[in-house]
């Protein structure tokens, strides 16, 4: 187990190094000076001062080394558009994204697995086919499209849920703890629902395939030969096995989930990493964009690592060694 963790950690570090390097050269290959556009309020003298301060006047190699050092220590520079260190901006946004993604991930896996069980237990029936078609439909929907439809439906036509993140959290500072919490949850509903729906379809498809792969196996036949009914066969013997690869899926789903979060956060003004990234693009805030990419990659790598470890812990065949 220890060696496994060490090996995976080593891989993770290599991945992050590659991504940090990629980000560095992307920024430097990009046209324009990250400071060029702030012209009206920054004088040439100030610009020169900051260029020096950030080391943009140094040789590329030195800059690269400094960049790696900075990234390793979580220093991503100063955000020109937010007027604060990138690290502070991310420290604010990251928990929001983690909350959104965490809720969506848990809900999507719960619903997706149940949906898959339904489809497998009732395989061949019309109900199961309908469930499959609906899952496929959600799988085919563009994220922003679903987000906008839900926004229109629940914040506009039947206005029972708040449209976005911005306003009431603005008032939170003046609310009692309980109403503030309730309000936060209300604001979470639509974005989390969107992300959940989009993720559920993938989980259900995957889980269904895994279950269908397990069902022809010998030990399932053994379970049937014991006299177990089909429900118990699927839920007890097949599911336990089919869930193992699904643990890995939770890690593998992260890149897509993050991608989906970009659109969902944009549409619902949920001020997490995706929202931050899209805005940073709007402001040509390169350090922020690159930091977002690196942090997102970190999340993916970390997520995969955790998923791997969870898999190892859950599978008795791996647990022993």
């Amino acid at each position: 187990m220890g060696r496994r963790v060490a090996a995976r950690l080593g891989q993770a570090i290599v991945v992050l190094w590659v991504v940090a390097t990629l980000a560095f050269f992307l920024i430097h290959a990009a046209p324009g000076d990250p400071f060029g556009f702030d012209a009206p309020s920054i004088t040439p003298a100030t610009r020169a001062f900051w260029r020096h301060q950030f080391g943009y006047d140094r040789p590329l190699g030195v800059q690269y080394a400094r960049w790696l050092d900075n990234v390793a220590h979580g220093r991503f520079g100063y955000s020109q558009s937010l007027h604060e260190p990138v690290r502070d901006a991310i420290a604010q946004a990251l928990p929001r994204t983690l909350l959104l993604m965490g809720v969506a991930l848990v809900a999507a896996f719960a619903i997706g697995i149940l949906l898959a069980l339904f489809q497998v237990q009732h395989r061949g029936t019309r109900r199961a086919r309908w469930a499959g078609t609906i899952a496929l439909l959600f799988y085919s929907l563009p994220d922003f499209w679903l987000a906008m439809v839900l926004l229109l439906a629940f914040a506009y036509w039947v206005p029972i849920l708040p449209a976005g993140f911005t306003v009431d959290p603005v008032m939170h500072q003046y609310m009692a703890p309980i109403p503030a919490l309730v309000d936060r949850l209300r604001h979470l509903v639509l974005p989390a629902l969107t992300l959940t729906l989009l993720t559920t379809a993938g989980v259900a498809r995957f889980q269904r395939n895994e279950l269908l792969e397990v069902l022809p196996l010998d030990f399932i036949r053994t379970a049937r030969a014991k006299g177990l009914d089909e429900r118990a066969v699927v839920r007890r013997h097949a599911l336990r096995n089919a869930l193992l690869p699904t643990i890995t899926l939770a890690g593998l789903a992260l890149p897509a989930l993050l991608g989906g979060a970009v659109f969902v956060e944009k549409v619902f003004s949920w001020q997490g990493m995706g929202w931050l990234t899209v805005n940073a693009i709007g402001m040509r805030d390169y350090p922020l964009v690159m930091a977002a990419v690196i942090v997102a990659t970190c999340m993916v790598v970390l997520g995969n690592l955790l998923a791997d470890l969870a898999y190892a812990a859950a599978d008795p065949r791996l647990r022993a060694d």
Binding site: V14, Y139, P142, D143, W145, T248, L252, P255, A256, G259
Partner: protein, 299 residues
């Protein structure tokens, strides 16, 4: 029944497809025909502003079956030409990623050993970077990006899954009799990959590619939605949707039709891809679980 010959069986026949998959075929053929024969199916140009005062934001009518948009452009015409752009981006980007992925996967799988390990590590690394974010970052840095660049970028960030599928196939094929025979007869590795491995991985690549086209169409729409995809006056379904999104209440037709086109096409591609996948070999795909979550958008 199982054959041991080098080639897969010819492929599923029309009769083996489910009614859903057949309908999906129909939808895809319809959109492809619409894209190819767009000039014959409409008398307008997609960018043509007919009369920016009198003919703007007209609801659907006989003259304009899908209505007109806020610049008095015929929405029906734009959906037809939008099919060209969206399908072309989907097809070309996937062609690119399939080619790169197939070659990469075939080499890695056939070579095996250290080469394979290193090549797969590289893929793992790229798979750790969320594709949408990577594309957003690159597109934002270099915007405005021309259409060819967009296709190139989407294509070059989408070949990892196909490479994995092909690698798995290639590894399985490596020790099969006909490959062993070819090798013992002194065929060069490149010839073996070209003559034996590639033809045999074609079917799963086609299926994976079909699913990928749907994903790319959604991805393009998403990027256009963020304003960093296709640019005016070129009409893609994504730009059309983005352009009209905030007028949903006042002129729904300008939003609904491109939206329906996207969803119908992607649903059709996914349905057909799924059906073919089940027919070819239910256990073969996905090569790795994450491909259930091919981005963009997904979810």
């Amino acid at each position: 029944m199982p054959t041991d010959g080098p080639r897969r069986r010819a492929g599923p026949g029309w009769k083996q497809l489910t009614p859903g998959a057949r309908a999906a075929c129909g939808v895809i053929v319809l959109f492809v025909l619409a894209a190819v024969f767009a000039p014959l199916l409409t008398r307008y140009q997609p960018w043509q502003q007919l009369d920016v005062v009198r003919l703007k934001s007209l609801p659907p009518s006989l003259a304009h079956p899908f209505g007109t948009d806020r610049f008095s452009r015929d929405v029906y015409t734009r959906v037809l030409y939008g099919a060209r752009v969206s399908l072309a981006i989907g097809a070309l980007a996937v062609l690119l990623s399939s080619s790169v992925g197939t070659l990469y996967g075939a080499v890695a799988g056939y070579a095996g050993g250290v080469v394979d390990t290193v090549m797969m590590r590289i893929i793992d690394t790229f798979l750790s970077v969320p594709r949408v974010l990577l594309l957003i970052a690159v597109l934002a840095l270099w915007s405005p990006v021309p259409l060819a660049g967009l296709i190139l970028l989407i294509g070059l960030t989408g070949w990892f899954d196909i490479a994995r599928i092909v690698r798995a196939q290639a590894m399985a094929l490596r020790d099969r009799e006909f490959v062993v025979a070819a090798r013992s007869l002194g065929a060069r590795p490149s010839a073996i990959v070209w003559r034996h491995v590639l033809p045999n991985v074609l079917a799963p690549v086609i299926v994976a590619g079909m699913l990928a086209v749907g994903n790319v169409i959604v991805l393009e729409a998403g990027l256009s939605f963020l304003g960093i995809g296709v640019r005016e006056p070129t009409a893609s379904w994504g730009t059309m949707f983005q352009d009209a999104a905030n007028q949903f209440v006042s002129s729904w037709w300008a939003v609904i039709f491109p939206g329906v086109a996207i969803v119908a096409t992607v649903l059709a591609l996914n349905t057909l891809g799924d059906a073919l996948r089940d027919l070819l070999d239910p256990r073969q795909l996905p090569a790795h679980p994450g491909s259930e979550f091919q981005e963009p958008a997904h979810g």
